[in-house]
Symmetry: C2
Subunit: 471 residues, 2 copies
Amino acid sequence: MLPEHIRSELRAIVGEQYCLDRQEALVAYSYDATPMQQALPDVVVMPKSTVEVQQVMRVAAGHQIPIVTRGAGSNLCAGTIPVGGGIVLVLSRMNQILEIDEQNLTITVQPGVRTSDIHQAVEARGLFYPPDPGSMVISTIGGNIALNSGGLRGLKYGTTKDYVLGLEAVLPNGEVIRTGGKLMKDVAGYDLTKLLVGSEGTLAIITQAILKLIPKPQTQRVMLAMFADMAQAARSVSDIIANRIIPGTLEFLDQGTIRVVEDFKQIGLPTDVAAILLIGQDGEPQTVDQDMEKIAAICKKNEAVQIKVATTPEEAEDVMTARRSALAALSRMRPTTILEDATVPRAEIAPMVAAIQEITERYGLHICTFGHAGDGNLHPTCMTDARNHEEIERVEEAFAEIFAAAIDLGGTITGEHGVGIVKAPYLEWKVGAAGIEVMKGIKKAFDPNNLLNPGKMFAKETRNRVVVNRA
Amino acid sequence: MLPEHIRSELRAIVGEQYCLDRQEALVAYSYDATPMQQALPDVVVMPKSTVEVQQVMRVAAGHQIPIVTRGAGSNLCAGTIPVGGGIVLVLSRMNQILEIDEQNLTITVQPGVRTSDIHQAVEARGLFYPPDPGSMVISTIGGNIALNSGGLRGLKYGTTKDYVLGLEAVLPNGEVIRTGGKLMKDVAGYDLTKLLVGSEGTLAIITQAILKLIPKPQTQRVMLAMFADMAQAARSVSDIIANRIIPGTLEFLDQGTIRVVEDFKQIGLPTDVAAILLIGQDGEPQTVDQDMEKIAAICKKNEAVQIKVATTPEEAEDVMTARRSALAALSRMRPTTILEDATVPRAEIAPMVAAIQEITERYGLHICTFGHAGDGNLHPTCMTDARNHEEIERVEEAFAEIFAAAIDLGGTITGEHGVGIVKAPYLEWKVGAAGIEVMKGIKKAFDPNNLLNPGKMFAKETRNRVVVNRA
């Protein structure tokens, strides 16, 4: 509990009803979408403006109180758990779309705007904001920026980082910086914009963003290709790219995921195949038709047992919804669902899926895998029970092996979820000791007193690297 | 002159013939493509490998000797002038294309590879590396990365930063870091890759890069649209974008530039028009044809006096070559040519060009403007004479006003050339005092002893901001 005089300072800034310290409020902001992670804040503060954020930051700096900035809390890396207590700064009241600029093709938003609200607002004007993280219906753009969220369109369109042109952010000393602008080219100094994207609330508090828009694709089509063998599906992915086609969506579901999704949504997925590719293309109608034909031919050549092209927008929507519901479907199976995002170069998907299967069996666990085949971003998802400590230990061991396998294949420990608390012990595996030192230096340059989201990204100890010799 | 024992250490690393300290060698590396900037290094060192770069870096760190890393020296911001003396580290011997990976669509290169050699190598395989800075025939990819080079395709395809997926770099302490990978998604820690891109050799020495490739567009077409009035040309640019067309190229030449280019290249440009737009589209043939028709209609609606569509690849090449020769053509006019790159949001091109004209006239100078209309990246280019001190003072005053005008219009002091020495006094105008402090903190985190490219990016003093009230 913070002393009354500090709570009083905070109340004076945001107003009594936006400064919460009742137990039920503290509990509500003690967790996020990450399983098995919880810590109580001392107070929840909900500012309405950049100036209020600055004032709160100054109070925090004056009393050396940690600040954990938070939107919807839909992240999966425990990125918004207030492990050091202090202030949870909820930006959901800063939820205005400030401008859609059709000449410069930009949208200017506050951090609390929901991702899907951005989609709707710009698509109504024939424009397009591609990043579509799984949580987009509830996630906020501030959270997307803090974590550099990806999604299903990453292969063709990139991730959040590729669309952030400018930021306003409050530094730990309370000062405001403005980076970038409505500019496609800007090389004035170090790129603070891209550095803040993905910095997980550890460097500054993002209070406004200018995002790049592109013209909305005229049309989009989607197909399902079913395979009796994972290797055939992986080869199809490689062949599509080798044929110089970059699909708008190129998703993968393994048999375990297919069965659970079909049970949940009943859209007629065949539950006896080993893998399904969900392949979408968007753009100019003729090009899309050509690409879909070529893609179908490639899948056939790789012995797809069935190819089903969605013929109506409703069918297409069903298929996309089924894919998007994978996490929800899997979550119904057992009390605890751990969704990971080990990522490899696209060409290494088949060996990576094989490694995940081998590890899963060896540890006697239930792990299904789905994800973004086109960009090598896989989501091995473990259905378990947090109350079973022995099993959870096996789960942790298994995931450590999965991360090690990803690194061995030239990949990374996290493609789109972020480091937060849960990946921190593995970060050094990817970036090396020298990389960690550089990152800590950057953190210190922004936040010398470690007030912003302490306990994230940098672990007290790096986990011992698992060494497994694979054939 | 460095003491013999240090030169001896350096010779032992790279071999006698790659450690130059004869006067003529020092002079050859005392300047780059930036006019009126020169400083002698103490020694020129040409390593062949990352290990040699590490060893040189350790010698430099041990004796506190500055290192200025350099490729072709084609930059325009005095980014490679060794103002503090020390070592010029020339990476032109590290010039191997290490791998083209057709499955993952990447190319792995050493920093000394020429940009146009990358273009040729990947296009031969039906792949495409879009960034095409004006200097691409001589520039090296290491220089492009250090400066985040742009080019004519920036509007549709982005700049160098958008294509760098991973880097190997030597830190000022001699350690190597490896960032990113053949990964479309990677959020493991702060994005050191994008931070190093555009860091102008001040944070680390880039020794290897993994670049993203995309499929080569099937076809490309180009047209010229001539306008009697600058405002009509600017309106055409806005209308093209507002019609949801993103051209592959959308360039602008003012009357002064047109006359000089035509005199130089004689390709039949009309010298009596106020502005020419050079508009190209690439992609799938039918889409390209459709877009070209729509673009022509938009230009006609905006009273283009003539529209000339290139009908053969040779004609198209002529047109592109003419645009690319603008700097060379202008350079013939007077002894000194100063090419700037004030950049504004696309919608502000017309007011920006008007401001440049007004300032040029008020200072009695000869400034022509051309550049990348589609991304608001203009190149006001002054033909002057460095020996005429009175005129050079007026040139400096005029450019200061031009930068201020760009900032006032929501723009930046440099869109693609970098800060180096020449823009350093203006950097604070764009990023603010707080932004400068953050950037200095980052510099210190990487390079606490200020050994890498000292004297760049951060000026001893910020220039006083010009305040002009415009109608």
